[in-house]
């Protein structure tokens, strides 16, 4: 809403000296009068009708799309509710998950024994065989009658100490 003449004069007074303000107000008024007395051509009626048609088409399209949106939301909500209900039902009434029970159920202890015992006995036999081989190569290691190496060394030391000519050979 433009200022009325008094408001415009007051506004100009705040920027200009009173005499200049009066002249400026007149310039503005008369200048705008020129625009009033020399009106611009009017828009073509056909173009106005075309603008109206275009707007109505756009508004109709907007209405259609705004109607489609609730349907889309409805379908999505239904799908989400179905998934949620299925999940809840599965959790409530479906097979329960107990880790220990599942492990014990999955592996039968008897099965363990059957499977492992032959492996163990095989390995034991293999180890015994290896030990036998070692004993064959070093038979004195497990001969209980053979003198203990430490005892043997001690005896030699005693002999050296008691016999002066031991070192001479």
């Amino acid at each position: 809403m433009p200022e009325n003449p008094e408001q415009l004069k007051a506004l100009l007074d705040s920027f200009l000296y009173p005499e200049s303000a009066g002249k400026a107000a007149e310039d503005i008024d008369r200048g705008l009068d020129l625009l009033r007395t020399h009106p611009a051509p009017a828009p073509h009626p056909e173009r106005i009708a075309s603008i109206k048609r275009d707007l109505q088409n756009r508004l109709a399209a907007q209405t259609r799309s705004s109607r489609r949106i609730p349907a889309w939301i409805g379908w999505t909500t239904c799908a989400a509710a179905l998934v949620l209900a299925t999940t809840l039902l599965t959790l409530t009434y479906g097979p329960q998950f107990h880790p220990t029970q599942q492990v014990t159920e999955a592996v039968d202890p008897a099965q363990w024994k059957i499977d492992i015992d032959p492996v163990l006995s095989g390995m034991t036999k293999e180890l015994e065989g290896e030990l036998e081989t070692i004993l064959t190569i070093h038979p004195d290691q497990y001969n209980s009658d053979a003198p203990d190496p430490i005892e043997k060394l001690q005896q030699e030391l005693k002999l050296m100490a008691s016999t002066d000519d031991f070192w001479k050979g």
Binding site: P2, G31, L34, L35, A40, I48, D54, R58, L59
Partner: protein, 181 residues
């Protein structure tokens, strides 16, 4: 001072916002002439002015929900001003304007049409004002806006707007031989 009849714009805008399709026709009837005049005086071209007018109303349909009250004219002419700036930037339209002018010069070297821009004395003198001054004067006239509203739209001090309009209109009066001095 007021040059345009002012019905209850606020009610009309509310009806448009409520989705009453017929209200848009009323809005076009109410503002088409003023907005066309604004574009025509700026572009000096009827085709471009019609195109801009059409774009303006499309923008109104798209953006009317964002109008939260206040002066509808200020809102409307802010969009109109932006559209004009976009138009100035648009190479296509510049090209079209040049082509139109070239065709006019070729086909119609003498201004026979009494009501066209070539015989519009005011249009000739308006074109002697700089673009910025012309735009603010036309916004004041066709938008029926206060200097405060103009300054807000242009994001400048009110004194600057006031001075620009005053100098522009004073020059226009002088050019039209109506200075009265």
């Amino acid at each position: 001072m007021e040059s345009f009849e002012k019905p209850d714009t606020q009610k009309l805008v509310s009806r448009c916002q409520a989705g009453e399709h017929g209200a848009y026709d009323e809005l076009v009837d109410l503002y088409a002439s003023r907005c066309y005049g604004y574009f025509y005086r700026l572009t000096r071209n009827a085709d471009i002015s019609h195109d801009l007018l059409s774009e303006l109303f499309v923008k109104i349909v798209e953006k009317l929900d964002s109008f939260k009250g206040g002066s509808f004219e200020k809102w409307l002419f802010t969009i109109a001003g932006n559209l004009f700036h976009d138009h100035l930037r648009g190479r296509y339209r510049q090209k079209k304007m040049l082509e139109t002018k070239a065709r006019e010069l070729q086909d119609d070297p003498l201004p026979r049409r009494a009501d066209t821009e070539l015989s519009d004395k005011l249009q000739i003198f308006l074109s002697k004002l700089d673009e910025d001054t012309l735009q603010v004067i036309l916004m004041r006239f066709y938008g029926d806006l206060s200097f405060k509203e103009l300054a807000e739209i242009r994001n400048e001090p009110i004194g600057t707007t006031l001075s620009k309009v005053h100098r522009g209109l004073k020059k226009l009066r002088e050019l039209m031989g109506e200075s009265g001095a």
